[in-house]
Subunit: 124 residues, 2 copies
């Protein structure tokens, strides 16, 4: 199953190609680390993130990033890391939540964060 | 340019394929409509969203969704719509912000929302 809704390709002067994010269900997570200036803790957290998402087959697409530093009043730049993972459907998301690698990520990483904020979105 | 970081394909019993979200820069927007139960206003807003993103070539991938109804303490389900668009880089995002179709979307739609929350994330 591929994504349903998105920007259709149109004639492009920029030459970019546009496509839906794969999967109908998108899971967006923001992490605020306790020590966002500690480079060793950042590296550990990044490794933990990258290691676990690479092992979970339910994930259709992923993004691991950090605040981009855009400065507008509507933008929250206070978080340390952003994880976006998409799934074909809610069942796959639910299986991801229970997956041993995801559970291990939480166990290995939860001491590093002080806050987690999640938004789950399903294609309209 | 394609995405850099993501879940690598691994042997899969589920048969899913995993890939990075296209582009290094991801722009995540949550909208709280003034009248989230008004079906006409919802439809108008969805149309406005879909019409404008389909015309902007800078967008590499997109998702338009609504709260998935996952009920966990860390999940914010209060928003009405989620827009995720990704770009190759910050310059393309900045051009998107200034794009006439994006400006028209804001003009046509801002009366419908009471709150907008943005998170911009760049691949680490």
């Amino acid at each position: 199953m591929t994504g349903i809704l998105g920007a259709s390709a149109s004639s492009s002067s920029a030459g970019s190609s546009s496509a839906p994010v794969h999967g109908k269900f998108v899971h967006v997570v923001f992490f605020w680390l306790k020590n966002p200036d500690d480079q060793a803790e950042r590296k550990q957290f990044e490794n933990n993130l990258n290691n676990f998402i690479s092992g979970i087959d339910y994930i259709r697409s992923s993004h691991v990033g950090t605040a981009a530093g855009t400065n507008r009043t509507v933008v929250d730049n206070s978080y340390t890391y952003c994880l976006i993972v998409s799934f074909d459907n809610k069942d796959d998301h639910d299986a991801y939540q229970e997956h041993a690698l995801h559970q291990k990520f939480v166990t290995d990483s939860e001491a590093l964060w002080e806050r987690v904020q999640v938004y789950d979105s399903i294609v309209v």
